[in-house]
Symmetry: C2
Subunit: 419 residues, 2 copies
């Protein structure tokens, strides 16, 4: 059987896609998925984000609403099998991000006596802005694949921060894939098919679903709220900050390992929030802790969300309007050697914890040029002094080197590293 049908051609804009977008979906015309999508396409619920490019998609792509993040352990010790897997994954990712099935047969086709080359649950759904972004953990650079000499210095293990309560079984991993989409079923489908393709070569180490993106990565997006009810990421690095992106986000030639040029380092932290305790804290205390007001998101003493932060401002009694241990002060670039992060986190609720509490919080993700000069000093400052620490606990941590983009159909994830 040849490639008889593409997902979208066969099914049009299906049920779940329509429902996800309410009544306002802009249906794509037949065949439209063949062309490079414009920004307007991507903004539409069904839009596809280009897969090929200088940088991987899913970093400065305007943050989609839903996340399925997965970390794999490599279980083969043959470098050739790892290399082959990356080629197979890249081909599947190039297809799935464009709204097609993972495999080439179409409509769960293939030989009836063989397993389908797509699991099927995204049939009929549009591309939904899906991006798939790959990263390599420090453990991949051990002695299994002869990659020790290719390990970037910036991939140095994160220090143990005060208060860390990390669970190793949901931390680290050899390879991560960040799947972001406007429809969770599309993100889940992508991760699940990569896991299926990787059978016998990789094993799922941990995975995390998220919703309600907690940062904007474009000035065209309004600032969303975290599960403490505050706007989050007002001063995030954004795709419009071109000079800052070059300085703070993308790995440049000469930074170290050439294979990372055009890439970025991803730090993940699963931050459990003690929401029940937080919900009993007075509004005033909550606002002092963040240094912003809860409704509008304005710096304390100011009116509007994007009013500049003035850390020298004092109240009538001479006390700083934004306290010394306020989150916004400790995290600010001006207090961390001008370290910016491109944050791309998501809220999560993983059910309840068996002790009568919701298991909820923030799955923090931040991209940067060098964690040693960016995430590490910021987090050290926060972990030591942040008034918020009473209400949060870091339970998972990851650090991944995400290489530059896949240039074309002849290229693949990790080629520059593995060959």
């Amino acid at each position: 059987m040849s490639e008889r049908i593409s997902r979208r051609k066969l099914f049009g804009l299906g049920a779940a896609g329509v429902a996800a977008a309410g009544a306002g979906v802009i249906a794509l015309r037949a065949g439209e998925e063949e062309h490079a999508p414009t920004a307007a396409h991507v903004a539409a619920a069904g839009g596809a984000v280009p897969f090929y490019g200088e940088h991987q998609a899913g970093i400065i792509t305007p943050a989609q609403d839903r996340l399925h993040f997965v970390s794999f352990d490599v279980i083969t010790d043959k470098k050739a099998e790892l290399d082959e897997l990356m080629q197979e994954w890249t081909a599947a990712a190039a297809r799935m991000t464009q709204g097609k099935e993972a495999g080439t047969f179409g409509a769960v086709g293939g030989l009836p006596e063989a397993p389908p080359d797509d699991t099927g649950e995204a049939l009929g759904l549009p591309a939904s802005g899906l991006t798939l972004t790959v990263g390599f953990g420090a453990s991949l650079f051990d002695d299994r694949f002869g990659l020790a000499s290719r390990r970037p210095a910036a991939l140095a293990p994160l220090p143990k921060f005060p208060g860390d309560a990390l669970l190793p079984e949901i931390s680290g991993g050899d390879i991560c894939v960040q799947a972001c989409a406007h429809d969770p079923q599309v993100a889940v489908h992508a991760v699940r098919n990569l896991a299926r393709i990787g059978f016998g070569r990789v094993s799922v180490r941990w995975s995390q679903l998220g919703f309600g993106r907690t940062s904007s990565t474009s000035r065209a997006q309004a600032t969303p709220r975290n599960l403490m009810g505050f706007k989050d990421g007002t001063n995030n690095l954004k795709l419009e900050d071109e000079a800052l992106l070059a300085e703070q986000l993308w790995v440049a030639p000469g930074d170290g390992q050439d294979w990372m040029t055009g890439g970025s380092y991803l730090v993940t932290r699963k931050i459990r929030m003690m929401v029940e305790t937080w919900d009993r804290a007075p509004l005033d205390e909550q606002q002092q802790i963040f240094g912003r007001d809860k409704g509008e998101g304005a710096p304390l003493g100011r009116k509007a969300e994007f009013d500049p932060l003035d850390f020298a401002a004092k109240d009538a009694t001479g006390q700083p309007l934004i306290k010394a241990d306020a989150h916004v002060r400790l995290a600010h670039p001006s207090n961390n050697g001008n370290a910016h992060l491109l944050r791309r986190g998501y809220n999560y609720v993983d059910g309840s914890d068996g002790l009568g509490r919701l298991d909820a919080g923030l799955f923090f993700m931040a991209y940067q040029r060098d964690p040693r000069r960016q995430f590490v000093p910021v987090q050290l400052s926060l972990a030591r002094n942040d008034a918020l620490n009473e209400y949060i606990k870091h339970v998972s941590s990851g650090l991944f080197a995400c290489p530059g983009g896949v240039r074309d159909a002849g290229d693949y994830w990790g080629r520059a590293l593995l060959t």
Copy 2:
């Protein structure tokens, strides 16, 4: 401080709402939330579903895309406190389903020295079709509140089904709330605020998030797919089936306990899918197991999804086209004394299981007039013979009596039971 601002008036249609619906959101005009929404409103991403009525919303309401289901244990033994809680919950639910904050102060207001009367994470988001549906478990009718004589016979414990692998810590519970919305942040916000309001009187026993509704409850909705990749719920009971709803869904006067008139019984089953094993099963085997083809969802031997099922049809060799142990045959009303269910389940992924597999499946929910004549015989038939059993495991179970609707602002959840 009085009720100065409603959530939507203050913020308009906020960031996450816009993003959730892609570029196609139909913004509501200022003040529009004051009027009863039309069907077109509800279909729009921001629409509000009416809270008051003969039946609870969230049962025949066209299935929204996202779920946060929660089961509470009551931890007070004072009936008056339980009664008071239900009044407080009802008032908050009436507000939140209309896109307002849980409390009456607005924009996380109130006294600065007091905790906010809303947790804030849904500020700026539209109502998003939120429905909140309450149900009472059999355990509420023990000797704590003097309700033993009010327990409906239809709330009899479900039998132990062959193959059940139920975990008590994520089963049962005194009171459930089903929160459905088009935006998971809105559903999570609602559950979280009910838990906050219930502090000291109820404790979260378990909770479950879901996405990608796996059944339609209206003929206006296309049939979505479960995580086995098959269309699910093609022949579901739907809101247009008025005679069947009266016969099969709603509790009628004379059915038993008067307080349940206009209500319905909800069965929940968390059904873990062994997706990695399933993904290695041949397409033909998958289709034989369901009795439908995977791409289109047509009964085997037919062309289109809604073609009638013909269980007598045979292939050229004289074998039944739909096998004796096919899921669709065993579950069909014609093989279960005409028992229909209104299914309203959701797909779930709860990360991974620590054994290299995704923890994924179906959170099955079904409403019905009497589980003894509906869910129980259907599930006995499936549990004994369904070819699908090789790939699934029931890990959680719940049965809840969901009373009729809250009639007006003077009524509240459970009033007819508790007074």
